[in-house]
Symmetry: D2
Subunit: 139 residues, 4 copies
């Protein structure tokens, strides 16, 4: 049985608070679309996430971590448990200077042993900042 | 002229303190091998880097960020400047339960427009935890 | 000035015949959408492209080659020249048993030094067979 | 029980002749190192493998296919069966102009569900042409 939209969103936000490292990143789920297997997560800029002092430049490692956690969320919504990352590719499309990022993670495949997720990360103005594609172990 | 080993190591450690996000991660350069184009960086476990509360599990996003910054360091040592990441692949080989990680980053190619770096991340017992391979823009 | 649709399609098909290896694969451009930066290419099954004797299984290497050439086509339509592949990731979603494959290649970014292309490969029944994402050098 | 070196090499060469597409590529196993989990495979240039007419340029798709089959060989030598590719990354380091290529495939991990293989492809002069890293399903 699938939980409805509000319940799924609340549960995802609760799960996002659990990993201690997420208290550094503070991701916030803003939408869960169960039909489309999509999850939308926001990440607000804070100075400790920057690459360059005094500029709203999200560090490349922060973007990678954001892509990774969004991918996990898209798998978890579908299969109801955490699936370890097998591998992850991140493409950095442009440098960031933004007060927030949004990741839209779409589950491409949920197989018996492997799931795949695509993530698109955009900035406050809607420009594509980064893409990721990952394989996750669903066994 | 190449700086000697101690100078290169000291300079790398200074550069590693600059990005604000590195005050979260606190990476520490432990070796620079200019002949082999290799850089070795250590990352100590702290609770805020964990995936699971109460366990020395480095979050997958922390591992990705660690791979990314080690890759940057290997390029910077060679070309003397920061090269933006074009793309990065990370392979997660096993879950982590360790008090520290070590990344050895090897510059594979330093072309006029693209550099490539391989990173191997091991835990305190020398087991391979993750591998990464990245392309960096050297223009 | 952009060539119109028919001219672009004819030119692409002419270019696809040029590489000697394409006489093995025999790809055929079926659509060029200049507005959307998309190219659609078909690949008919022939026994010499198989992985398993007597089955319409396209070899994984054939799928990789197909993804690569479709990616090149999407870049070439935009920038008017061949751009060498920097790197390419291919995700194999399911085994193939089909009389033909279709690749839809979408140019995601055409920067001064790097282009990115996503390719989706489907079989005769419209099922996703493979995805690829590549970085190409546009210098 | 592990077959000895000559037997393993002969068996690999026999298996390499089986896929119909390999009659196009004609890969030839030249070494199997069971201790190091390494397989070495050669690929001779023939005109139908070229990208540019009249030049000994192996097509990028041929290089991708060569990397893929070398990866499969490294897994098969270890686990005794064919393991489907989950995903594959290929890095193209330089254009090729060579009468032959050599792929050295090293099994990095052979887990219960996933294997990983690194492949290094060099030309007749020993220069690195391409690298690949792949994940394979061992279930």
């Amino acid at each position: 049985m699938m939980a409805d939209h509000e319940t799924a969103l609340a549960r995802l936000n609760e799960e996002l608070t659990r990993p201690p490292f997420h208290q550094v990143l503070r991701p916030r789920a803003v939408d869960v679309d169960i039909q489309k297997n999509m999850v939308t997560i926001a990440l607000e800029y804070r100075d400790e996430l920057a690459r360059t002092p005094g500029e709203k430049t999200f560090h490349g490692g922060v973007i990678a971590a954001f892509a990774d956690l969004a991918g996990h969320a898209a798998v978890a919504i579908k299969i109801g448990k955490m699936a370890p990352t097998i591998d992850l590719r991140i493409d950095y499309l442009r440098p960031v200077d933004a007060s927030a990022l949004t990741a839209v993670a779409t589950l491409i495949q949920a197989g018996r042993s492997v799931a795949r997720v695509d993530v698109e990360i955009t900035d406050s103005r809607g420009r594509k900042i980064a893409l990721s594609r990952g394989a996750y172990s669903t066994i």
